[in-house]
């Protein structure tokens, strides 16, 4: 696992843009609602994350940060 998106689910507005932009299709939406009343973004397979940052950069609401684990 190289890294992963860190999702501040409470801030998510459920626009799904991150879903569309992930090159490895690991972003999806929750079943449940957050306190804003929307289904929020979740990463369904962190192992596959390339840490490309696309989801974070496209997110209009600063919901996602992406981390990369240091080598070794």
């Amino acid at each position: 696992m190289r890294g992963k998106p860190i999702i501040d689910t409470g801030k998510c507005k459920g626009c799904e843009l991150c879903n569309g932009v992930c090159p490895v299709n690991i972003m999806s939406m929750s079943e449940t609602f957050n306190k804003q009343g929307v289904q929020y973004a979740v990463c369904i397979d962190e192992e596959k994350c390339t840490t490309c940052g696309a989801c974070a950069i496209i997110c209009p609401d600063m919901v996602i940060k992406v981390i990369k684990y240091e080598q070794g």
Partner: protein, 249 residues
Amino acid sequence: METKKFKYVYDKPEALVDKVTHYCPGCGHGIVHKLLAEVMDEFGVREKAIIVAPVGCSVLIYDYMNFDGCEASHGRAPAVATGLKRVHPDNIVVAYQGDGDLLAIGTGEAIHAANRGENFTTIFINNAIYGMTGGQMAPTTMENQITATTPTGRDPMDVGYPIRGCELLNSLEAPVFIERCSIHDFKNTLKTKKAIKKGIKNQIEGRGYSFIEVLSTCPTNWGMKPQEAADWVKDTMVPYYPLGNFRDN
């Protein structure tokens, strides 16, 4: 594994305030705000920056940017930015404007600030609609696009063709940088950031007026889901508003 060392590939810029915006889900404004904040961080000019907020959905941008901010009346951001910048030539002034703001009521101010070559940076959000007031025709509304004031679609024979901002300003001598970009996908979003970065760099170097048009989305007033809206930008707007650099002096 949780304690593994890591670094941020993407972290919240310092120049951005950590709060929930008033924007609709998937609105392009949020994306561009972030790009602007990142650029301010990267140049380390947050403490010199002044954002000039338009009247439009982004009227509260000064609440989201972690630096000084100034409201402008509808369309007059270029004049306000001129006043600010003439007083503080060393500050970094950004006029952030919508398409109604810049190309309708504010046409004169936009053209004249550009023509004077004022040393500030304009970010022009073209979402083909008046977002804040609930979806009326903008100067950039596409042919046949249905809006609150074009209930049967924009008819160019009656109200004219959509205006292309970059091309209009490109007829002037003074601007040093004019580019049209888009945030409809990841690649173009990165290009947009690059253009904004160039615009701020020009200002830091005192080179004059830079204009970055960003094709953006208004899912709410377009009546589309955010991803559909992004696709509409690609399929409908980009062909009429060609992306790319128009000037880089």
